[in-house]
């Protein structure tokens, strides 16, 4: 390119600049119109009182009243608390189980593709359908779970309708839903590890556990971290399963942030307050992103 005649390069530059904009435009417009603009709209509305009368909205200034109210909103506090509990336990379960399954699958010589096909299935099923499936599974009278417990003389349990087991039940469903995703990423990671290290470990007489602790885990660390971040992000967005399985109840025992926003914004039609809650959540999420990025910078390129 450097040897091209200057005039030709100039004309090329002009055309380059045009095409640079044209190729960028579709993605740029989509992001600007449907992500930047809506968030700006949320921020503006979060400082307003909105009231509806006869199909048209009227606005009046609210200042920071909505943001002040957030702290005292029991539902929002329960939502944040449950989302954190949900994310920690669900993601921990998925990571451990996913890693174990990937390790086992990478060791078998027969049936690897069949196992992978079966394990991928839940990732592709709509969250709402997974909710429907498990609503039937957890159904107290005829659900399969209680039938199995019935065989050994236990139950029936009110899995989703009892405040002490509802959140745990939702976490179990999420583990069922997303362990396959962790499994898939870990399996891909394990399959791409250099084999000579394992041969060396074998020659040195390392036991299976030593191999796992000193060879596999350190080599897999980057994949593990990336999977962890992916999963935590998606866990914070949980909505579909909760909507279908428990609708946040009983009481506030399975209230999660996305569902709280849905209730305040849409069910109760509190647009200004719902917007403030949305902005607060977006702010928390961006804080998380900044933390994750600076952590990665400190750890060096993964």
């Amino acid at each position: 390119m450097t040897s091209a005649a200057p005039a030709l390069a100039d004309a090329g530059m002009q055309e380059d600049r045009l095409w640079r904009w044209l190729t960028f435009a579709p993605a740029g417009i989509l992001l600007l119109a449907f992500s930047v603009l809506p968030i700006l709209n949320l921020i503006v509305v979060s400082f307003l009182h909105v009231s509806w009368s006869g199909g048209s909205a009227s606005f009046s200034a609210a200042g920071i009243a909505h943001y002040r109210a957030l702290g005292g909103d029991e539902l929002f506090r329960a939502g944040v608390r449950n989302t954190l509990v949900f994310a920690v336990f669900a993601v921990a379960g998925q990571m451990v189980l996913g890693f174990a399954l990937a390790l086992l699958t990478s060791r078998v010589t027969r049936g690897r593709i069949i196992y992978r096909t079966i394990f991928i299935l839940p990732i592709l099923i709509p969250g709402i359908v997974i909710g429907a499936i498990w609503k039937l599974m957890f159904q107290p009278d005829f659900g399969l779970i209680n039938q199995i417990f019935g065989l050994i003389g236990l139950g029936p349990f009110e899995w989703l309708k009892s405040a002490s087991t509802a959140l745990m039940s939702v976490i179990i469903v999420d583990i069922w839903h997303w362990t396959p995703f962790c499994f898939l990423l870990f399996l891909a990671g394990l399959e791409s590890l250099p084999q000579d290290v394992y041969e060396a470990a074998e020659i040195d007489g390392a036991s299976v556990w030593q191999e796992l602790a000193y060879v596999t885990l350190p080599l897999m660390l980057p994949t593990i971290l990336v999977t962890l971040v992916f999963r935590i992000v998606v866990a914070f967005k949980v909505f579909d399963e909760v909507y279908l399985l428990t609708s946040g109840g009983p009481g506030t025992s399975t209230e999660v942030v996305s569902f709280t926003i849905y209730q305040r914004f849409f069910t109760e039609d509190r647009v200004g307050y719902g917007s403030a809650m949305s902005v607060a959540v977006i702010f928390l999420v961006s804080l998380l992103l900044v933390l994750a990025l600076s952590a990665r910078k400190r750890l060096g390129p993964a």
């Binding site: 190729t23 579709p26 989509l30 992001l31 709209n41 709509p126």
Partner: protein, 278 residues
């Protein structure tokens, strides 16, 4: 040699453990599909053996009050349209950002914003989308849902296509320009064939995620424009839940996923793992 034999023998517990895990994954799905073939009474008394009937499937698909086929069509239209839109925007956008010499702050700003947008729960934006779509007159239309899904999937698609276009050798691009190729020719004739497997992987994921998306579709649709997940949620929330019909519609709704799993598993795996391994 004795070690090899030991490894061969030790595969039995491994196979058993994996078989058990596969059973845990398959059983709920199979049990619900089976429930779709039961009568309400057979399901309620929990009998193990039952005579399969097609009543629930017939009710879901063909009864006069059911709109499930419409929902299915809506999901197909939104899925295909939003996938095409996302794919076009992501392919061109990724090429532009990674290969067309934007100042680095532009690239970082765009990709950073996309990443943040990907982390935000869709429900936080649904209200603003609703207001915006109402203003421009596309509220409660399939077009509105399509735009929402295209935008929701764009960050992931931009990221994946970014990885794939960066694999295109720069020498090829330079050779094409020296031969007098214009940017459209370069993209269509040279870059697109090279990244075709990447495009396929991204397309499959975009379609699946659009097919599965619930929160935005719930807020942005009414009964005639409802997608499959919205319809199934309505089933489950009826005052008197018709369990077997809910099971039948759940079974029908996973057909596209199963077909894709069988015929494009390679692309699904490629799409899901690319972001993490690279």
């Amino acid at each position: 040699m004795s070690e090899r034999i030991a490894i061969g023998r030790s595969q039995l517990p491994t196979q058993l453990a994996l078989g058990l895990a596969a059973l845990v994954v398959i059983t709920p799905v199979a049990w619900v599909i089976a429930a779709g073939f039961r009568t309400q009474i057979s399901l309620l008394i929990g009998e193990f053996w039952f005579t399969p009937v097609l009543t629930s499937f017939q009710d879901v698909l063909f009864s006069k009050t059911s709109v499930f086929l419409t929902n299915f069509g809506n999901s197909m239209i939104v899925g295909i349209a939003s996938t095409l839109l996302t794919l076009t925007a992501a392919f061109l956008g990724a090429w532009s950002l990674h290969r067309m010499h934007w100042p680095s702050w532009v690239v970082h700003l765009c990709l950073g914003w996309a990443m943040l947008f990907h982390m935000v729960p869709p429900i936080t934006l649904a209200g603003a989308w609703f207001t915006l779509f109402r203003t421009i007159g596309i509220d409660n239309t399939l077009f509105g849902i399509t735009l929402a899904h295209a935008t929701l999937n764009l960050p992931m698609a931009l990221w994946l296509m970014g990885v794939f276009v960066q694999d295109v050798p720069r020498e090829l691009e330079e050779a094409a320009f020296i031969d007098g190729a214009t940017t459209p020719t370069l993209l269509l004739k040279i870059v697109m064939p090279i990244v075709a497997p990447g495009l396929a992987a991204t397309a499959v994921l975009c379609f699946v995620f659009s097919w599965n998306e619930f929160a935005a579709a719930l807020v942005l649709s009414t009964k005639p424009t409802a997608t499959v997940p919205v319809a199934i949620a309505k089933f489950a929330q009826d005052f008197e839940i018709q369990y077997t019909q809910m099971a039948a519609s759940a079974a029908l709704s996973i057909i596209p996923a199963v077909i894709l799993l069988i015929i494009c598993q390679r692309y699904i795996v490629k799409g899901l793992t690319t972001g993490a391994v690279k």
